[in-house]
């Protein structure tokens, strides 16, 4: 049970008649000589941590810097009270939960890096929102984490998953693609539908720069997690509708890698460019640290 690319993963799943989550579970068992129960329960613990982070964030939490916090609760209230919602309840439910986890992270709460802490809101945000609508049991939810992990494994080993290495496309982009694939399996889609969801989601994140204000994983990161959640859900629905990606997922991952390589350092988590370098970004940096990190 071994794969390195999304194409190999899908082929393995299809020829063996397995789901993507099952391929990942079996690969993990084989690589580390662990029992199914061990592998499964370790992932279940991650799910528990995620759930707590969602709840903590929805109650309203603020970071030490003051750059982020309270938006998850705000979105939630709007979702419940507004007479008209422009994007719809499902989207806002996802977005509020994704924001909640990211705000928890910014406030130095406990989170699961999925694949990183800067992008940790997207997967749990979508997962707990979708599970409610789909009436998913705990096992299905844990399996969704394995699907995400399988896609992230392909991205991490063929490109990168950190903003410092490849920009935010590598971070929030990867998380969005991983999550889209997981949502498809949760909703009963096929492995190849999951692969298409990966490509559709990641294509819409290509070129995304990592430009944290004052160098902190807060602005624009929290809102990018929110929107990543929305993109993941829509990409999953598109794939479930039978929409396919013109460019295969592995080539999209390859393109993401190339774009990241070509990206200047100022846009890779150094806080030297992008939103971090705007007048407001610099002013906030001075306010938080007294003197700028980069002057």
């Amino acid at each position: 049970m071994d794969f390195r690319t999304v194409a190999e993963l899908v082929e393995l799943a299809e020829t063996e008649g397995l789901s993507i989550s099952e391929v990942m579970i079996q690969k993990e068992m084989e690589t580390f000589a662990k029992s199914r129960a061990d592998v499964f329960s370790q992932m279940e613990k991650n799910l528990d941590v995620m759930e707590k982070a969602v709840h903590k964030g929805l109650k309203g939490i603020h970071s030490h810097s003051g750059l982020s916090g309270g938006d998850a609760a705000k979105i939630r209230r709007h979702m419940e009270e507004a007479p008209v919602l422009l994007s719809g309840k499902a989207v806002l439910d996802t977005v509020s939960r994704a924001t909640a986890v990211s705000e928890t992270n910014a406030a130095m709460g406990t989170v699961v890096a999925t694949p990183t802490a800067g992008a940790c809101g997207i997967l749990p945000g979508c997962l707990f929102s979708a599970a409610e609508r789909l009436n998913s049991d705990r096992e299905t939810m844990v399996r969704a984490l394995f699907v995400s992990g399988a896609i992230g494994y392909c991205i991490a080993n063929n490109a990168f998953i950190s903003g410092a290495a490849g920009g935010c496309q590598a971070e929030v982009g990867s998380a969005t693609a991983m999550t889209a694939a997981a949502m498809v399996e949760m909703a009963g889609g096929t492995p190849s539908m999951s692969a298409n969801a990966v490509a559709i989601a990641l294509k819409n994140m290509l070129g995304l720069v990592c430009d944290p204000v004052a160098g902190l994983v807060e602005a624009p990161c929290v809102k990018r997690n929110a929107m990543g959640g929305a993109i993941a859900m829509v990409a999953a629905d598109m794939a479930m509708a039978g929409v396919t990606s013109v460019i295969p997922p592995d080539e999209v991952i390859g393109a993401m890698y190339q774009i990241g390589q070509n990206m200047p350092n100022s846009l890779k988590e150094t806080a030297l460019g992008g939103l971090a370098a705007t007048p407001t970004g610099r002013a906030l940096e001075r306010k938080i640290f007294g003197q700028p990190n980069n002057e």
């Binding site: 390195r4 690969k27 993990e28 690589t31 580390f32 592998v39 992932m43 613990k45 991650n46 941590v49 970071s63 810097s65 928890t104 992270n105 910014a106 130095m108 709460g109 406990t110 989170v111 699961v112 890096a113 999925t114 694949p115 990183t116 802490a117 800067g118 940790c120 997967l123 984490l145 394995f146 995400s148 992990g149 399988a150 992230g152 494994y153 991490a156 080993n157 990168f160 998953i161 950190s162 903003g163 410092a164 290495a165 590598a170 991983m178 944290p212 004052a214 160098g215 902190l216 994983v217 807060e218 350092n265 890779k268 988590e269 150094t270 806080a271 030297l272 938080i288 640290f289 990190n293």
Partner: protein, 218 residues
């Protein structure tokens, strides 16, 4: 393959805010402490690239120090680690370097007490994963995910075979092995990742080999 486990991707469970700057950094600190074998009294931490630019807001400083205090990535004490280090009598200095390193998230740690010193360079490669890339001037690649044995020894024929024999006698399988030396015939270092944990008796048997000058089990 840089990432081998699904839990490298979905995980670690950690205190925010950044997996590269916080979790990976904590793991570099903890690995350095493990390699040093005890809590150091003085530590000089040189930060490069993105670490140097954004460590204060990301808590890279508190994370590395938390690691040096032997805290895991999800230990809530990380938030107070600078104070805890002071209380524990550990003196820490941070140096921001403009020098360009191969990886943007690189930290060099110099650990010291009256018994000795150690220099460790680690890189945080993303998602909370780290690699130790330099140890006392030796280049190496150590992920900390598998049990590992570090053996310093004189660069002489038979040294590697003797260590391998001890491992075989203790039914320990080698998953990955790397040998590096500063120059021919001088001091050398074996890095051995094993499938099984290295027992105390195996460690002692290796330490007693005539060519061996030091053994660390990670």
């Amino acid at each position: 393959m840089k990432y081998r486990s699904v839990f490298d991707i979905i995980g670690p469970v950690m205190i925010g805010p950044s997996s590269s700057h916080t979790a990976g950094a904590a793991r570099i600190g903890r690995a350095a402490r493990l390699l040093f074998g005890r809590q150091p009294q003085r530590v000089g931490i040189t930060l490069y690239g993105s670490f140097a630019k954004t460590y204060r807001g990301h808590g890279t400083d508190i994370a590395i120090v938390g690691g040096l205090l032997n805290f895991d990535t999800d230990d809530e004490r990380i938030v107070r680690s600078l104070d805890l280090a002071k209380e524990a009598g550990m003196n820490v200095t941070f140096i921001e370097s403009d020098e360009r390193r191969e990886h943007p998230n690189t930290a060099r740690l110099f650990l010291e007490d009256e018994k000795g010193s150690l220099e460790v360079t680690g890189v945080s490669i993303g998602g909370g994963k780290m690699e130790i890339v330099e140890l006392n001037g030796f280049e190496l690649k150590l992920s900390g995910t598998a049990p590992a044995l570090l053996v310093t020894h004189h660069d002489r024929y038979g040294a590697i075979a003797k260590v391998a024999t001890v491992l075989a006698d203790h039914r320990i399988n080698v998953g990955y092995m790397q040998v590096s030396r500063k120059e021919k015939g001088s001091e050398a270092l074996m890095i051995i990742e094993t499938d099984q944990t290295v027992s105390d008796t195996a460690e002692q048997a290796i330490a007693q080999l005539p060519e061996v000058t030091g053994v660390t089990v990670m």
